[in-house]
Subunit: 105 residues, 2 copies
């Protein structure tokens, strides 16, 4: 939904592991949970959170459910950080200006 949910979702280390696993492409739940330290239901819960945040997309494939990273959700968060970066640069430049003015007196 909003970028806040995406950030909250990415804040958990286990969920970041899931994201890293999905970088190479879509995977079913079993493959995601394989090799992880937590149980499969825990993975399911995390997948739910990531999906609600708009970071993942599901595609039922017969018996299994394929999860994949949703480019749109990532892009939303990306755009937020872009505007934040712009403001930070502007504020930084203005602060440098005022400091220069102060030193010149």
């Amino acid at each position: 939904m909003a970028y806040q949910d995406a950030i909250t979702a990415l804040a958990d280390p286990t969920r970041r592991v899931i994201i890293e696993k999905l970088r190479r492409g879509p995977l079913p739940v079993g493959a995601i949970a394989a090799g992880m330290e937590v149980s499969r239901p825990a993975v399911s819960q995390h997948l739910r959170v990531l999906s609600d945040a708009g970071l993942l997309a599901v595609r039922p494939e017969g018996n299994r459910r394929l999860y994949a990273i949703a480019p749109d959700g990532v892009d939303e968060l990306r755009r937020y950080l872009d505007t934040l970066w712009d403001d930070a640069l502007a504020g930084f430049a203005r602060a440098a200006e005022e400091k220069a003015k102060g030193n010149a007196k």
Copy 2:
């Protein structure tokens, strides 16, 4: 330091309010805490977390301490999301390809 700390720092709503307040430029702690629902020490703790994550920079100004958004920290997080976005797009394209192949049989 790493992008993980930045994400964790931005996951808290109160800290996001602080970030929004600093968008227009540097502010002392008192000005940041003014109008907020939490106490000033709580704000101090959040400022510590944000600073440790590399998202904020401090500049002592006489009696007060001016906090400002650190462009470098934001940029680091931005770059992580860029690579994640690239991988998501690649995976998405490959999935579409394979699906087309499957439908063409």
